[in-house]
Amino acid sequence: MSGLRAMSLVALERIVVAEGGRQILSGVDLAIDRGEIVTIVGPNGSGKTTLLRTVLGAVRPRAGRVRQAPGLRIGYVPQRLALDPTLPMSVGRFMALPARPPAGAVPAALAEAGLPDIADQPLASLSAGQMQRALLARALLSDPDLLVLDEPTAGLDQPGSAAFYRRIESLRNARGCAVLMVSHDLHVVMAASDRVICLNGHVCCEGTPESVASAPAYRALFGEGTRGALALYRHEHGHSHDHGTRDG
């Protein structure tokens, strides 16, 4: 065990996850260190969300080890919140789940996430962008060591996405928390990342955005040898083709 791994907030070692006879992750290693921004990219069905949920402890791997630093606080921002209309929920009440924050913390967290004090509004009345920031504000309330975001900009346009990632970066700079996120916005998100991991059931490659972007294998990394990053990007934002995979 290397010293670096021992100091990591979260360390996954040779993780294998299978669901319904299909192997989703095979032999994945991942270590997140304090204060770094790590972005996972990969095609649909490559196991990105499964990897995040393994970090959260929501997926039990078939093999391998998940180690969390003692007392690790995780702030989780899900891709979307399926809000059942039968469940009445104001923004302020949502902020107090599952732990009631100290007085005054909610408006501060909302402001930090870029929202006015909308604690009295029903959660269901928020726009997609406001909802994303409200989810971020709730995650910040636990004063997390690690922010985990699952495709936080799904549903936002490109300027909105870029602004969101800049906000994540400045949050990291101000708070010193680590960030682990999944993204489809390859170009936009790579600029805000310290490390990019390309996943396709296994770790295809990883490194700084620059090293990944300038590597000769760049196209192969993101397109599995058939499609380049740009093509993948266009695919996500343009026509929909069925490639026989599903979003993991």
Partner: protein, 258 residues
């Protein structure tokens, strides 16, 4: 008012303490079939207890617990399989009815089993319902934050270090206990109605989960009182009268909230 009516009113309002918060979770988590199936299985418990000469309440509680845990295991980690639950729910009802009919000496009042007999509760039943409901309410309040968080998104609870599977199991046990408490009062067919209708009536007026649970309790208590009054005035069975009152309350709420 005569004593039976007062006891019925006391038992009904006591039961509402448990059914109001649990009914909210049944609605939020779309567990209506789950409640139905557990309630129907309680009939098997009656038959089993009588066949073995055990206390009926014990048999009902044991079978409701076992059946609820079976259902819990079956539905865990995926969308609720409606068809499977439907088969189990009605299968349990049919088997329970057959088992009761097979008992010697026809010692069972089938109508009371299906629709309850709240006007026939004794002082001990009232005390039991209040104690049981208070217990259910206390546990629900204890696990409240985690249960509400997991109702919204289980991964939010997991990321916060909670264990939603354990809370789900607790909720399942509370539902089984509530079914056992309710059987004598409103009967196997109307238990899930008593869970769902007051909570549904409360939804339009609630702006937080807690407000919905409190309003559901109020709606439940009003339904019990109005239903008993209806039952006395019209000579109709008490259980169905209570549920009918709750349905009217729900409809009125929809109109007023508009």
């Amino acid at each position: 008012m005569d004593d039976a009516l007062i006891r019925a009113l006391l038992a009904g309002t006591g039961l509402v303490l448990a059914t109001a918060p649990l009914g909210c979770f049944v609605i939020w988590r779309r567990m209506a079939f789950f409640g139905d199936a557990t309630a129907h299985a309680a009939l098997l418990g009656v038959a089993l207890a009588l066949a073995l000469s055990l206390p009926v309440g014990l048999g009902v509680l044991a079978v409701a617990l076992v059946f609820a845990l079976l259902l819990f295991r079956l539905t865990r980690g995926g969308e609720a399989p409606d068809t499977v639950l439907g088969v189990l729910s009605h299968g349990a009802l049919a088997l329970g009815l057959m088992a009761v009919a097979l008992l010697p000496d026809a010692q069972v009042d089938l109508e009371a089993l299906l629709f309850g007999d709240i006007l026939d509760v004794g002082p001990r039943d009232v005390a039991l319902v209040w104690a049981g409901s208070a217990g259910v309410l206390a546990v629900a309040l204890w696990r409240w934050q985690g249960l509400v968080t997991a109702s919204l998104n289980p991964d939010l609870a997991r990321a916060a270090g909670l264990r939603p599977e354990r809370d789900d199991a607790v909720l399942t046990l509370l539902l089984a206990l509530t079914v056992a408490l309710s059987l004598k009062l409103v009967g196997a067919l109307l238990i899930s109605a008593l869970l769902i209708l007051p909570a549904a009536a409360a939804r339009a007026f609630a702006r937080s989960p807690e407000a919905m649970a409190v309003l559901a309790a109020a709606a439940g208590a009003v339904s019990v009182a109005a239903g008993l009054a209806l039952s006395v005035a019209l000579g109709t069975p008490a259980g169905p009268s209570i549920i009918a009152a709750a349905a009217v309350l729900y409809a009125l709420g929809r109109v007023v909230a508009r």
